[in-house]
């Protein structure tokens, strides 16, 4: 092994010093003092983090656009769509110093209260299929089904909207935080410029250099209710976010169950993977948070499937299964049962439009 001090006397001195430090550390503990060790040093390159935050602010400013303007499907339909890649890559600048995360295991994290966020609503229809199916209607229906499944399994569910009303992203975030949610699950339906592409993808908070994801974040962040000044504060949380690991795990669990459940009814479904993106609802919420794009309304077959009650049920079951898988190691409520089997693969009844 390398890393050994060359001279044996120097080596012995170093080992003695380290043992003394370990002893002092334990004596401090016995005496009820703060542990010994060097005082925290301010990192000489803290400005790098600052510069990074400013860069991300600039990125979001460019991406998000005017927050008060409602989103249309057309807004997403511009620009080329790069290949979707699972989130196995490093962040764009992996060497960037990241503030140290606090392990969630520090706390006794039981998952009890789930905030379910049906995307869009009211004057903001979200994406629309060619046949006129609106994202806001699909997300609300799936959210209601999910609410029943989760409630039936012992979770408390808080809905950010219960009907076809407009709720700004800011208000959704405030509601989730005030409710003390343990998890935040935002439900959306994708619209991809290439009409032949279809699939599911799940997002958690983080920077992205994928132009499609930037577009999507801009679209989903519309009508956020945040000002740029708010964003400045929110952005500082992006890299210091202690929920990142947990959100990634939750996103992985949701994506796995979504893809597995839906491909049975939709064999050509693409697994577009777990990705990072700066969605406003993910930045502002204080609990592990993900945004699931549960289907593509821009694909005619998927739009047709989305009209079916059975397919919506399947999506709701898959989302619930993802939450169960994530929550199980966290000590989910004891009465949590495995989700009921998803509906059969046959054509389902048409949902009420």
């Amino acid at each position: 092994m390398t890393g050994r001090p060359g001279d044996s006397r120097e080596r012995d001195r170093l080992r003695r010093t380290l043992v003394e430090a370990a002893v002092d550390d334990n004596l401090a503990l016995i005496a009820g003092r703060r542990p010994t060790g060097e005082p925290r040093r301010r990192h000489p390159r803290f400005w790098v983090t600052w510069v990074l935050v400013v860069c991300v602010a600039a990125l979001l400013t460019a991406t998000v656009g005017p927050f008060s303007i409602g989103r249309t499907a057309g807004a997403r339909a511009e620009g080329a769509l790069p290949e979707a890649e699972p989130d196995l890559s490093l962040p764009p600048r992996a060497l960037t110093p990241l503030p140290r995360a606090i392990a969630p295991a520090v706390f006794d994290l039981r998952i009890r209260r789930i905030v379910v966020d049906p995307g869009h609503g009211g004057d903001d229809p979200g994406a629309r299929s060619q046949g006129g199916l609106a994202e806001k209607e699909v997300t609300l229906d799936i959210a209601r089904r999910l609410e029943k499944l989760l409630t039936g399994s012992g979770f408390e569910v808080v809905m950010t909207r219960e009907s076809d009303v407009f709720v700004s992203l800011r208000d959704r975030v405030l509601l989730a935080n005030r409710a003390g949610g343990d998890l935040f699950l935002s439900i959306h339906v994708n619209s991809i410029p290439q009409p032949l592409r279809r699939g599911v993808e799940t997002y958690y908070l983080g920077p992205t250099d994928d132009p499609h994801v930037e577009q999507l974040a801009g679209a989903e962040n519309s009508a956020s209710g945040y000002t740029l000044a708010d964003f400045r504060t929110l952005l500082e949380q992006v890299f210091a976010d202690v929920r990142s690991d947990e959100s990634r795990r939750l996103a992985g669990a949701v994506q796995n169950t979504l893809y597995a459940a839906l491909r049975r009814a939709n064999p050509h479904l693409e697994d577009r993977g777990v990705k990072r993106a700066p969605f406003a609802v993910l930045i502002g919420t204080e609990m592990p948070s993900v945004l699931a794009e549960v289907s593509c309304v821009s694909h005619s077959d998927e739009a047709e499937l989305l009209r079916q009650s059975a397919y919506r049920d399947r999506i709701a079951h898959a989302l619930a299964a993802g939450v169960f898988d994530y929550a199980a190691p966290h000590g989910a409520p004891l009465l949590v049962a495995a989700p009921a089997p998803a509906p059969s693969d046959g054509p389902g009844e048409r949902s009420h439009q």
């Binding site: 080596r11 380290l18 490093l90 060497l95």
Partner: protein
């Protein structure tokens, strides 16, 4: 620097989430699964004929036991008297396995997951009070570094069951800034593998213990050396399953967060020593045995100037051996001071 004092038995203990090991100055070495179980009722007590069971025996008799894995997710749960008691029982069991002689004093160094040391220090100290004549608690990656004598410009990545601990050794006792803990570790891989297998084989009857055993036997990242074929009951009938892709996906979920944290810690080191640090990365813990992991980390290092990653030769006892080295090298006067 070591002492030969037959009146004292020095112990190095690795108190892990999944397995715990003890190495004694007498040469004794033992490892047990970190499970502690108490019979649930009088009937179970009569059948088992024991007040408390440990390790594999506890796991095998789990229907009759209140089973605890005391350092789940690398911590003693705050306010959990049972977990404190389980830590205490487990340590006492490890000490008894080391076989101290009548009248021999026991000086023990206990290595624990770094996060447990940071968060549950007082709980740990309370839990272990009185079970040895004198006792010191250190973080596991520090113990590994000490045992391997990699104390300068090295980075220890200790991939355990509950946590992955990172510790940069710069010739001084590591500060908080030089240590990191991730929850992406063995248990998270088990969970993910279980989810993937349930998804692909919805009728297969799997338990987390079986899935964990498969992971420990077949884990790999990158290209598989051979297909991973296992047998499991499917609707009650033993069935052969090819789980190669699932094992790979579950294991590879560890790579991005480890790479990210590794590169971040290196980037924070003194620029003059970053090259040395990159070439002196040690993988320890059960996760160090994932085939191809060291190569995957070296591939990531290649993008920032190259580096070398080595896995410890004896992952089961690397921490216990390091703790034993600390125990033997600590002056007796210090052991006296630590007796309170």
């Amino acid at each position: 620097m070591t002492k030969d004092n037959s009146g004292v038995l020095h112990l190095g203990i690795d108190l892990g989430t999944s397995r715990s090991a003890v190495a004694a100055s007498s040469g004794a070495r033992h490892v047990v699964d970190s499970y502690v179980g108490w019979p649930v009722d009088m009937v179970a007590r009569k059948i088992l004929k024991r007040e408390v069971l440990f390790g594999r025996e506890a796991l095998d008799n789990r229907p009759m036991l209140e089973l605890h894995r005391p350092l789940e997710r690398g911590l003693i749960k705050e306010g959990s008297a049972k977990d404190e008691r389980a830590v205490r029982e487990l340590l006492a069991h490890l000490i008894s396995l080391a076989g101290p002689q009548q009248g021999q004093r026991v000086f023990a160094v206990v290595g624990v997951p770094a996060e447990a040391l940071r968060v549950s220090r007082q709980h740990l100290r309370n839990a272990v009070k009185g079970i040895a004549d004198s006792l010191m608690i250190v973080s596991e990656p520090f113990a590994v570094a000490y045992g391997l004598d990699t104390l300068l410009h090295s980075l220890i990545i200790d991939i355990g069951a509950g946590t992955t601990d990172f510790c940069v050794m710069n010739g001084h006792y590591p500060t908080e800034e030089e240590q990191r803990t991730l929850l992406n570790a063995g248990d998270a891989v088990d969970d993910q593998l279980m989810t993937l297998l349930r998804t692909r084989f919805p009728d297969a009857q799997l338990t987390i213990h079986t899935v964990r055993q498969w992971k420990e036997k077949y884990s790999f990242v990158g290209e598989p050396a051979r297909p991973v074929i296992v047998t499991a009951p499917v609707s009650g009938k033993p069935t052969t399953l090819d789980i190669t892709n699932e094992v790979r996906r579950a294991c590879e979920s560890l790579v991005p967060p480890i790479v990210e944290t590794m590169l971040d810690l290196i980037s924070r080191a003194d620029p003059d020593y970053q090259d040395k640090l990159r070439h002196n990365i040690i993988l320890a813990g059960g996760g160090s045995q994932i085939a191809g992991l060291a190569e995957a980390l070296m591939a990531a290092l290649a993008e920032v100037g190259g580096g070398r990653v080595l896995a410890v030769e004896d992952p089961v006892f690397a921490g216990a051996n390091g703790s034993l080295a600390i125990a033997r090298e600590a002056p007796e006067a210090d052991w006296e001071r630590l007796q309170s």
